[in-house]
């Protein structure tokens, strides 16, 4: 069963394109990652799904309710954490959450219990009676997430939930989201790739307002990692190092990136798939008595994915 169905969603801000012709489905209980650079349309899509503003054309259904005709029911079933984490800074955490509990229609009787529950789930016990304006960024983020959880939403939409948090908090929030995922459908946007592979079941990639790919993280990475690359930083005569690296079996190409200070050079080695060359590169450099500073495989970055997918798409457009 699909919890979220998006059909040909398009949003223009005047002449400027927010998103164009986006369609996808999210199954109930799935955690969907939303990946894209700044300004690619992640927030626009989320704002449409949460009924903040309507699309220019196209439609979407959340738990079977149309966002245009049945907006109140949609809002009743969703929890939303906006990207900027807006909060009433002059309110204490507890009153803030109680206000939203009331607005979300939680009865007077169960209100306090519900608020206490989300305070516990988001680790806010120690600051429950402090003013939100006095809290650190990490705590404010949690207050925002707590607000979105108050009505036990079937669909949770989180816009960059881990931005601005320290590493420990990021792990905590990820675990929190992972834990929620078993019961609810979650859409979360991010531009950190490892985060997606750690938390999400599937990923949507959008670029310049268009949908580029929808797939599982494992499939995406498999699809993209066709030519593994290794970065080598070594000191010595640059031409000789380049030749020595190029003559290793399994190497496709060697490009010199830049000459660093203190006679260190940096190279990028492209290798055939399935060949592990780290050890033989280290040995070669050692045998020549050159200085070895660094040998590491290149991680797939979001940038790589975009360059890859976007060029792929543009190529398909022209042919």
């Amino acid at each position: 069963m699909n919890a979220i169905e998006v059909e040909h969603l398009t949003k223009f801000y005047g002449p400027a394109r927010g998103v164009e012709d986006i369609s996808f489905n999210v199954k109930a209980g799935e955690i969907m990652g939303f990946l894209g650079p700044n300004g690619s349309g992640k927030t626009t899509t989320m704002r449409i799904l949460t009924c903040f503003f309507p699309p220019t054309s196209g439609t979407a259904r959340i738990c079977g309710h149309n966002i245009l005709t049945d907006s109140l029911a949609v809002r009743q079933k969703t929890g939303y954490l906006p990207e900027s984490v807006p909060l009433y800074l002059d309110m204490p955490v507890f009153s803030y959450l109680r206000f939203f509990a009331e607005v979300k229609g939680i009865t007077t009787k169960s209100r306090k219990g519900k608020v206490d529950e989300v305070i516990g789930a988001c680790g806010l016990d120690s600051v429950a009676h402090r003013l939100i304006g006095k809290l650190s960024k990490g705590y404010r983020q949690r207050v925002g997430i707590a607000q979105s959880l108050l009505n036990d939403p079937e669909v949770l939409i989180l816009d960059e939930p881990t931005i601005g948090l320290d590493p420990k908090q990021i792990i905590e929030i990820r675990n929190l989201i992972r834990g929620l995922g078993s019961k609810r459908t979650v859409i979360l946007s991010t531009h950190i790739l490892p985060e997606v592979s750690m938390t999400c079941d599937r990923v949507i990639i959008i670029h310049k307002g268009r949908l580029v790919a929808v797939d599982t993280p494992a499939n995406l990475i498999k699809r993209l990692q066709q030519t593994p690359r290794i970065i080598v930083k070594a000191g010595g005569p640059s031409e000789k190092i380049k030749d020595a690296l190029g003559s290793l079996p399994g190497v496709v190409a060697v490009t010199q990136k830049q000459s660093g200070s203190q006679g260190l050079h940096s190279f990028q080695v492209e290798t055939q798939e399935g060949v592990h060359l780290i050890n033989s590169i280290a040995r070669t450099i050692d045998n020549h008595n050159w200085t070895l500073q660094e040998v590491r495989p290149v991680d797939m970055t979001l940038e790589d994915i975009f360059i890859h997918l976007v060029t792929e798409e543009e190529g398909a457009d022209t042919t």
């Binding site: 903040f52 503003f53 969703t78 939303y80 807006p86 309110m91 939203f100 607005v103």
Partner: protein, 246 residues
């Protein structure tokens, strides 16, 4: 029910941020001063017509202070939420636009009623030395209440148009002053036009109340003006949605 929740939250915000205390204090000090000087004037020169004249002067003075202070109460209602981005939370929670507008309007109206209620101290004090007639006093206060309610409706509409509180306050004062002077320009507008403008003037309708006259047409004027501005506020929220801005 959401209306009530929003109203409660706004009221708390008025009093924790001290805005309400400051505005009420200034209102009481200045209107108290006006009341005192008017009283002294009537005691020294007019003497006999204290009952009507004193209140008429005092109400006219209070009207002027309200013109300057109410925009300071209304300016934050939408502008602040837009600036902070919290309006996004209101729009994406299960709250109808009308409930947002009503909650905010009623919270501001409550602060204004508290403010007005405290000025009843002046007639109570006067009663100690001089018998006060309830009728004209009541009419005047109904007038002030309606006038203030109209000011608030105008202010809330203007606050929904901008995210800058200062701009909202200044524009509200501007619009209210315009409504005040609207029927002054007999030289340019013809006699008939002045007659129409006369009926549109915010303050012309107030004069009857200060004389102790409660005319149904004046009440209808204020109530329809309030409804008009609140409707405009709702429209402005709706327009915002389609334009895609905050």
């Amino acid at each position: 029910m959401n209306t009530f929740a929003i109203m409660k939250r706004e009221l708390k915000s008025y009093f924790t941020s001290l805005i309400a205390y400051v505005v009420i204090a200034i209102f009481l000090i200045i209107s108290g001063y006006f009341f005192y000087t008017n009283l002294v004037m009537f005691v020294m020169w007019v003497g006999s017509d204290v009952k009507l004249g004193l209140w008429q002067y005092t109400f006219h003075d209070m009207r002027f202070i309200m013109l300057l202070l109410i925009p300071l109460l209304t300016m934050r209602l939408f502008a602040e939420e837009k600036k902070l981005g919290t309006i996004e939370l209101l729009y994406t929670n299960p709250i109808r636009d009308a409930e947002i507008v009503a909650g905010k309007y009623l919270s501001c109206l409550t602060v204004f009623i508290i403010m007005l209620f405290l000025t009843l101290l002046y007639p109570v004090l006067l009663e100690v030395v001089f018998s006060v007639e309830i009728g004209p006093l009541l009419a005047g206060y109904i007038g002030l209440l309606l006038l203030g309610a109209a000011f608030i409706a105008c202010g809330i509409f203007i606050s929904s148009l901008t995210e800058n509180q200062i701009v909202a306050a200044m524009a509200t004062v501007g619009v209210l002053v315009f409504f005040w002077f609207i029927d002054w320009n007999e030289g340019i507008a013809g006699e008939q036009a002045v007659e129409v403008l006369h009926r549109l003037s915010l303050f012309e309708h107030f004069t009857n109340f200060t004389k102790g006259v409660i005319d149904i047409s004046d009440i209808v004027y204020y109530v329809s003006l309030i409804a008009f501005f609140l409707f405009c506020t709702l429209c402005s929220l709706e327009v915002r949605k389609w334009s895609g801005n905050k």
